[in-house]
C-alpha cells in the first residue's frame, strides 16, 4: 500500500470497527470458558485452591498500566499546548509534553511486569506441586490465565507499535483497557463463582 489508499476518516472509522469486532470475538472466547467453568464447578469432586497472593499485586500493576495508557491517550487527544488552538483539539497528532511523554512507555513496562508477575504466580503454584492436570480447578486456572496472558502479549505488541505510530494509539489503548476488564472477569470467575 502506498501509505494509505483510504481517506483518513474512513481509515479511522474502519479501525474502530475492527477493534470492536476483535473485542467481541475475544469476549465470546472468555464467555465460552466461563460457561465451561460454571458447568464443571457443579460436578462432583470440585475443589478450589488457594491462589497465590501475588495475583492481587498483578491486578494492581495492570490497573496502573491502564491508567498510564489512558493518560497517554488523553495527552495525545488534547495536547497541552493545543488547548489554545481549538481546531487541533481532536487530533491525535499532538506531541504530549512533560510527564505525559513517559505515560505510554510506562504503560508498556507495567504490562510486561504484569506478565512477569503471572509467570511468578505459576511458578509458585508449581512449587507447591499444583500442575495443570492436578485438579479441574487447577486446569481452569492455568488455562484461563494462560489464554489471558497470550492476549495481553498481543495487546502489548499493539501498544508498542503505538509508541511510534500515533494513529493507532486510541485503538490500542481501547483494547488494552479491555484486557484489564477481562482480567477482572477471570478473577471473578476463579475467586467467586463455582
Amino acid at each position: 500500500m502506498t501509505a494509505d489508499a483510504l481517506p483518513a476518516p474512513v481509515r479511522a472509522q474502519s479501525n474502530r470497527v475492527l477493534v470492536v469486532a476483535l473485542i467481541a470475538t475475544t469476549a465470546m472466547l472468555f464467555t465460552a470458558f466461563a460457561a465451561a467453568y460454571l458447568e464443571r464447578s457443579g460436578a462432583r469432586g470440585w475443589r478450589r485452591l488457594d491462589l497465590p497472593g501475588i495475583l492481587w499485586a498483578n491486578t494492581l500493576v495492570l490497573a496502573l498500566s491502564s491508567v498510564a495508557a489512558e493518560i497517554a491517550r488523553r495527552s495525545r487527544a488534547r495536547p497541552f499546548d493545543a488547548v489554545k488552538d481549538r481546531s487541533n483539539v481532536a487530533s491525535f497528532t499532538g506531541k504530549p509534553q512533560g510527564i505525559a511523554r513517559w505515560a505510554l512507555p510506562a504503560s508498556v513496562l507495567l504490562g510486561l511486569l504484569f506478565l512477569a508477575g503471572q509467570a511468578a504466580a505459576w511458578a509458585e503454584l508449581r512449587a507447591e506441586g499444583v500442575f495443570l492436570p492436578t485438579s479441574p480447578y487447577a486446569s481452569f486456572f492455568y488455562l484461563l490465565t494462560a489464554i489471558h496472558a497470550v492476549h495481553v502479549a498481543a495487546a502489548l505488541l499493539a501498544l508498542s507499535v503505538a509508541l511510534t505510530r500515533a494513529r493507532i494509539l486510541g485503538l490500542a489503548v481501547g483494547f488494552w483497557h479491555f484486557m484489564g476488564i477481562v482480567w477482572l472477569y477471570v478473577l471473578l470467575i476463579l475467586k467467586v463463582l463455582g
Binding site: 502506498t2 489508499a5 470475538t25 465470546m28 472466547l29 465460552a32 462432583r44 492436570p133
Partner: protein, 561 residues
C-alpha cells in the same frame, strides 16, 4: 492504490480482492474433488460392503466420513463463500478493495497450510481423524481410542485452528469493508442483498467460532497435557482407564454453539446470492427485500440459542429439550419468510432460462425440501426416533450440501464473466445443471426414506444388522446416483477451465443487471472503477419499473425529477 508487479505480487501474494477471491474459489474446487472422491468411496462401501474391505477396514470408513464432512463444510463451502465474498463485496458496494488488503492476503495464505495439514493427516500412522466432523470426545480426546484418534486427530485440531484464525481475519475484513467503504449513495438499504447475507454471516461467525476455539484448546489439553475437561474414567478394550471425571457432553454444547450458527453462516449468503441471481432472469425486482433482511437478522439472533436441538437424546432435562424444541420451531418462521420471498420473486416473471437461473430455481426447491425435514427434527418427540439416522443425513445434505453447492454453482456461472471477462459455455452448463441438481436432490430425499426406515448413520456395513434388511433396496440406487453426480462435476471443471481461456468474450453487463459490479468493466481493472468511484442513486433492483420505461435501471443512473 499500490499496484503490485511481477508474477508473485500479481497472482500469488496478491493484495487485490478479486485475485484473492479467485484463489479461494480455485482452492475450494480442488478440495471439493478430494472431498467428493471420499464420498464416492463411502458410497461404494455402503453398496458393496465386501468390496475393498481389506484396503478400507471399518476404522478407515469412519475416518473417511469424518474427513468428507470436515472438508466439505469448512474447506469447500466455507472457502468458496469466502472467495465469492472477497470478489463481490467491494464490487457491489463500490469500493476499490477490502479495508485491509494485507490482512486479506494473509487470511488466504493461512488457510492454505490448513488445507495441506488436513490432507497430510491421511498419510500419518493411524490415518486421518475418525471422530466425525463434530469431533466428539472420547473418540477425539483419548489418543488410543481408535487409530484415527492419534496423530490424525492432532493434525485435525491444528488444521481447524488455522482455519478459524483465517476465517476470523477474513470476517474482520468483510465487516469493516461493508460498514465503512460503501461508495457515496450506497446506503445500507440500497445494498444488494448478497452483501447483507455476507454481513449477517460474518457477524455470526465472529461471535460463534470462539467457543469452538475454546473447546479445541481444552481438547488439546486433554489429549496432550493430561487434563480431564472432557474425558472420564472408562472401559477401553476391556481395560479400566482412569482418565479423570470430565464431561464429554460439555464439548457437545460448545461445539453446537458454533455448529448451529455455522450452518446459517453457510446458508444465508447462499440464499442471498440466489436472490441476487433471480431478478436478472425474471426481469422483476426481488420480492420482499426488507422483510428478507429483517428475517435474516432474526435468524442470526435465534440461531445462537437453538444449539440444543442437536442433543435431544443426550439425556438433557426434558424441560430444557422443550425449550430448544420450541426455539427451533420458531426459527422456521423467519426462515420460511426467506423461502417464500424467493418463490414470490418468480411471480409473473418473464423468465430467461440461462444456467444461473436454472441453479437458482433448484436452490428454491432444496430450501423447501430441507426446511420441511427440519420441522420433524426440531420437534423433540420425533427427533428421538430420527436422531442419528439417515433422515438427519438427508436433511443436512439438502441444506448445507445442496442449497449451498447449487447456489455456489449458480453464482459461479453468474459472476464468471465478471471474474474472467469471458462467458461460460451455456450448453455444457445445462448438462452440468441437470446431472447435478437431479441426482443431488434425489439422493438426499431418498436418504430421508432410509432414515424413516431406521437406518443409522456412521455405520460402515448396514447389512450387518437384521433390522436394516428392509432398507437395503435404496442403497444401490443412491450409490449409482452418487457416482453420476461425481462424474458430472468433470463437466463443470472442464467448462470452468476452458472458459477462462477460450470462452466467448463477455460484455460489461451480460445479464443486463442493475448492481454496481456490472457497471465496471469485465474483468474490472485494479481498483475496480477507474478514476471516479461510482455514485449510487437508487435501489439495487429496479427492473421493469413501469410502462414506457427501460427494462432495467442500473444503480448508478441519476433519478430524474
Amino acid at each position: 492504490m499500490e499496484h503490485r508487479q511481477g508474477f508473485l505480487g500479481k497472482y500469488v501474494f496478491s493484495f487485490d480482492h478479486k485475485v484473492i477471491g479467485i484463489q479461494y474459489i480455485v482452492t475450494a474446487i480442488l478440495m471439493a474433488v478430494i472431498a467428493g472422491a471420499l464420498a464416492v468411496i463411502i458410497r461404494t462401501r455402503l453398496a458393496w460392503p465386501g468390496v475393498g474391505a481389506k484396503a478400507f477396514p471399518p476404522e478407515a470408513y469412519i475416518s473417511f466420513v469424518t474427513m468428507h464432512g470436515t472438508l466439505m463444510v469448512f474447506f469447500v463451502v466455507s472457502l468458496a463463500l469466502s472467495g465469492l465474498a472477497n470478489f463481490l463485496i467491494p464490487l457491489q458496494i463500490g469500493a476499490r478493495d477490502m479495508a485491509y488488503p494485507f490482512l486479506n492476503m494473509l487470511s488466504f495464505w493461512t488457510v492454505v497450510p490448513a488445507c495441506l495439514i488436513m490432507l497430510a493427516s491421511f498419510f500419518v500412522t493411524g490415518g486421518a481423524a475418525a471422530s466425525g466432523w463434530t469431533a466428539y470426545p472420547p473418540l477425539s480426546a483419548v489418543k488410543e481410542a481408535v487409530p484415527g484418534s492419534g496423530l490424525g486427530q492432532t493434525l485435525w485440531l491444528l488444521g481447524m485452528a488455522l482455519f478459524i484464525f483465517s476465517f476470523t481475519m477474513g470476517g474482520l475484513n468483510f465487516l469493516t469493508t461493508t460498514l465503512n467503504l460503501r461508495t457515496r449513495g450506497m446506503t445500507m438499504r440500497r445494498m444488494p442483498i448478497t452483501v447483507w447475507g455476507f454481513l449477517v454471516a460474518t457477524v455470526l461467525a465472529i461471535l460463534a467460532f470462539p467457543p469452538l476455539t475454546a473447546a479445541a484448546l481444552m481438547l488439546l489439553a486433554d489429549r496432550h497435557l493430561d487434563t480431564s475437561f472432557f474425558v472420564t474414567d472408562m472401559l477401553m478394550g476391556g481395560k479400566y482407564r482412569a482418565l479423570g471425571d470430565g464431561t464429554p457432553l460439555l464439548f457437545q454444547h460448545l461445539f453446537w454453539f458454533l455448529g448451529h450458527p455455522e450452518v446459517y453462516v453457510l446458508v444465508l449468503p447462499c440464499i442471498c446470492m440466489t436472490f441476487d441471481i433471480l431478478p436478472a432472469f425474471t426481469r422483476r425486482p426481488i420480492f420482499g427485500y426488507r422483510p428478507s433482511v429483517y428475517a435474516m437478522l432474526v435468524i442470526g439472533v435465534l440461531s445462537m440459542i437453538v444449539w440444543g436441538h442437536h442433543m435431544f437424546v443426550t439425556g438433557m432435562n426434558p424441560y430444557v429439550g422443550k425449550y430448544f424444541s420450541i426455539a427451533t420451531v420458531i426459527i422456521t418462521a423467519p426462515f420460511s419468510i426467506l423461502g417464500v420471498n424467493l418463490l414470490a420473486s418468480l411471480w409473473r416473471a418473464r423468465m430467461r432460462f440461462a444456467t444461473p437461473m436454472l441453479f437458482a430455481l433448484a436452490v428454491i426447491s432444496a430450501v423447501g425440501l430441507g426446511g420441511f425435514g427440519g420441522l420433524f427434527l426440531g420437534t423433540m418427540t420425533s427427533d428421538i426416533y430420527f436422531h442419528d439416522t439417515y433422515f438427519v443425513v438427508g436433511h443436512f445434505h439438502l441444506m448445507i450440501g445442496t442449497v449451498t453447492l447449487l447456489s455456489i454453482f449458480g453464482a459461479t456461472y453468474f459472476w464468471f464473466p465478471k471474474m474472467f471477462g469471458r462467458m461460460m459455455d451455456e450448453r455444457l452448463g445445462r448438462w452440468h445443471f441437470w446431472l447435478t441438481a437431479g441426482p443431488m436432490i434425489t439422493i438426499f430425499v431418498l436418504m430421508h426414506m432410509q432414515g424413516l426406515g431406521g437406518m443409522l448413520r456412521r455405520t460402515y456395513d448396514p447389512s450387518l444388522y437384521p433390522y436394516n434388511e428392509h432398507n437395503s433396496t435404496l442403497r444401490l440406487p443412491i450409490t449409482l446416483l452418487a457416482f453420476l453426480l461425481f462424474l458430472a462435476q468433470s463437466i463443470f471443471v472442464w467448462n470452468f477451465t476452458k472458459s477462462i481461456f477460450k470462452g466467448e468474450k463477455a460484455p460489461a453487463n451480460p445479464w443486463e443487471a442493475t448492481t454496481l459490479e456490472w457497471q465496471a468493466p469485465s474483468p474490472p481493472p485494479h481498483g475496480n472503477f477507474g478514476e471516479q468511484l461510482p455514485v449510487v442513486h437508487r435501489f439495487a433492483y429496479e427492473y421493469s419499473p413501469g410502462e414506457g420505461q427501460a427494462d432495467f435501471v442500473p444503480q448508478t443512473v441519476e433519478k430524474t425529477a
